[in-house]
Amino acid sequence: MMAYTVETGCIKQISVFLENKAGTLNEMLGVISGAGVNLLALCIADTTDFGIVRLIVAGHDVDKTLAALRAAGLIARETSIICLRVSHEPGAFARVLDLLADAGISIEYAYSFCRSTLEDALLIVRPSNLDLSLEVLGSNDVPLVTQRMVDEF
């Protein structure tokens, strides 16, 4: 059995608010590349009125990225997120989600994070209850990607 905490079991994610207007995503990407930051993963959630872009960057790039985004007049926030490591086989992800659902935890959103160097699939998950999720995943020995692993990608 593993014991995860937010420090050991989570990775950092940056969320950015974007207006639903042509060119805003491009502009944001320009700000990030202008800061010399390499994006490791990206996911866009959009509604008819606005979008939220979620980004994963290396840990040492988080502050630099936030500062660049804010300096460009964008609303950006850092959050802690869970990154599951799931084997490439049918039903593997579903089995993990079942564990969370059994504990009454719902998933706000999820997206995948592919690294060719790894055998397993990486899935980023935003559960409704972070602490409880870490406890459930830890007691079931579900492997998680740590911030240190992300930084070494």
């Binding site: 994610q13 969320s15 959630a45 939220i52």
Partner: protein, 434 residues
């Protein structure tokens, strides 16, 4: 403390009767002595004898600020010039001055109104009242001075400015009550803190009467924490008397109007119809004891709400809210009067929401639409769509409940609402109604 309980706590019916009687006298006096108002009544087909009581008030034509400018300086005097003992005035923001003439009786009435306000703030003959309003044509200084004198308090007529000296006198003389503008009071309080003057040790203020400019509940909290006292609002305008037209009691929940001297109405600024208590509209005053320069149905263009429910302090006088805006900014959307300041009030009241907003009014398929653009702040933002939607829903629901119409809320990036000279352009009306 209630200075004149027999008047301030009079039952509403008797007060209306008294107001009616005094209105009849005032209209007859004004008609006989002020050519402009006589012409206006004639034009409206109203004779003094048509005014028999308070219910006839709505038959009377309005007086406007422009009348005071056009008739400057003495065209609106109803009493002979020899009876005028005082002139007060204001420069006005447009640079055209206006003045008001007071008879000896008018000065006494004004003084009594301020005395009631100060008494509500706990002032007695044992108090030391520091007046840091400007003395001069502006009504603040002399108004506060006379009111405190009527109560027999010791007055320190400092006038405005010279902050170090104000604080030195406050400490050395043991001032117990401060009268000035709320913004200057905050400046005094902050300077006192910087100088190391502590409430309860070096300073002994128990209350303050602050007016002559609009202020907010946040400013009250700030003032009360700076001085550890009760900060009360006092309202007035030169055209009607000066400070003391209305004042807060210790309940701090609306300002009691001195209704035996002034009739207050709230009207629909578009139609001129009287509105019931509780509905925001334009504040209108009629003086009913003034002889020098009476004002009948003077339109302030200020937005306000009246409250005629009983007050816990025991006074029966109707209460007016803080001034929440100007009619000049009013929009009519789907037949509902909407004041941008109401929407600002909603936004300021929601934690984490930025007060930077812009209203976009349009007409789509012959129906008016209102969109409120609100600048997003980091406090309002999280990584999930549902939480951002929840913020939008909350803003929309509160606007609906306060203003009475549905609005579409658009969250926009910070600093994206254009600001001209620091002030945002609040309203974009695309309807071409004119």
């Amino acid at each position: 403390m209630i200075y004149q309980p027999e008047i301030e706590c009079m039952d509403r019916e008797s007060m209306r009767e008294l107001q009616g009687k005094r209105l009849v006298e005032t209209v007859a006096w004004e008609y006989a002595n002020v050519p402009l108002y006589r012409a206006r009544m004639d034009e409206a087909g109203v004779k003094p004898q048509d005014i028999k009581g308070i219910d006839d008030l709505s038959k009377l034509p309005f007086t406007e600020k422009t009348d005071l400018r056009d008739e400057f300086p003495f065209g609106l005097l109803a009493a002979p010039r020899s009876e005028i003992v005082r002139i007060q005035g204001s420069s006005g923001t447009t640079g055209h001055p206006i003045v008001a003439g007071y008879t000896r009786g008018d000065v006494a009435v004004w003084q009594q109104m301020v005395a009631r306000a100060m008494s509500a703030a706990g002032v007695t003959k044992d108090d030391i009242v520091q007046v840091a309003y400007g003395y001069g044509l502006f009504t603040g200084g002399l108004g506060a001075h006379q009111g405190a004198t009527e109560l027999g308090a010791m007055v320190i007529p400092m006038s405005a400015g010279n902050t170090q000296r104000q604080l030195m006198m406050m400490k050395e003389l043991g001032t117990t009550v401060l009268c000035c503008t709320p913004s200057y009071a905050i400046y005094l309080g902050e300077t006192a803190r910087e100088m190391g003057l502590k409430p309860g040790v070096d300073l002994h203020l128990k209350s303050g009467c602050f007016g002559a400019e609009p202020w907010t509940e946040e400013m009250r909290q700030k003032l009360e924490s700076l001085f550890e006292f009760d900060a009360l609002d006092i309202y007035g305008l030169t055209e009607i008397a000066g400070p003391g037209v209305a004042f807060e009691c210790m309940e701090k929940h609306g300002m009691h109007v001195n209704e035996d001297h002034v009739i207050v109405e709230v009207i629909d600024p578009k139609t001129g119809e009287q509105l019931p208590a509780g509905t925001p509209g334009e504040l209108v005053f009629t003086t009913i004891t003034k002889k020098g320069q009476p004002m009948i149905r003077y339109r302030t263009h200020d937005i306000c709400t009246l409250d005629d429910s009983p007050c816990a302090c025991g006074r029966s006088a109707i209460r007016m809210s803080r001034i929440t805006g100007r009619t000049d900014d009013m929009l009519v959307i789907r037949g509902v009067n909407v004041f941008p300041s109401q929407i600002e009030g909603v936004l300021v009241g929601i934690e984490g929401v930025s007060p930077h907003y812009q209203l976009e009014v349009d007409r789509v398929n012959s129906t008016d639409t209102l969109a409120v653009n609100v600048e997003l702040t980091e406090d309002m933002f999280s990584d999930t769509v549902s939480s951002v939607e929840a913020v939008r829903r909350k803003i929309a629901e509160q606007i609906k409940s306060v203003v009475g119409i549905s609005a579409k809320i658009n969250l926009v990036p910070p600093k994206s609402i254009p600001r001209s000279e620091g002030k945002a352009k609040r309203v974009i009306d695309k309807r071409n109604l004119h």
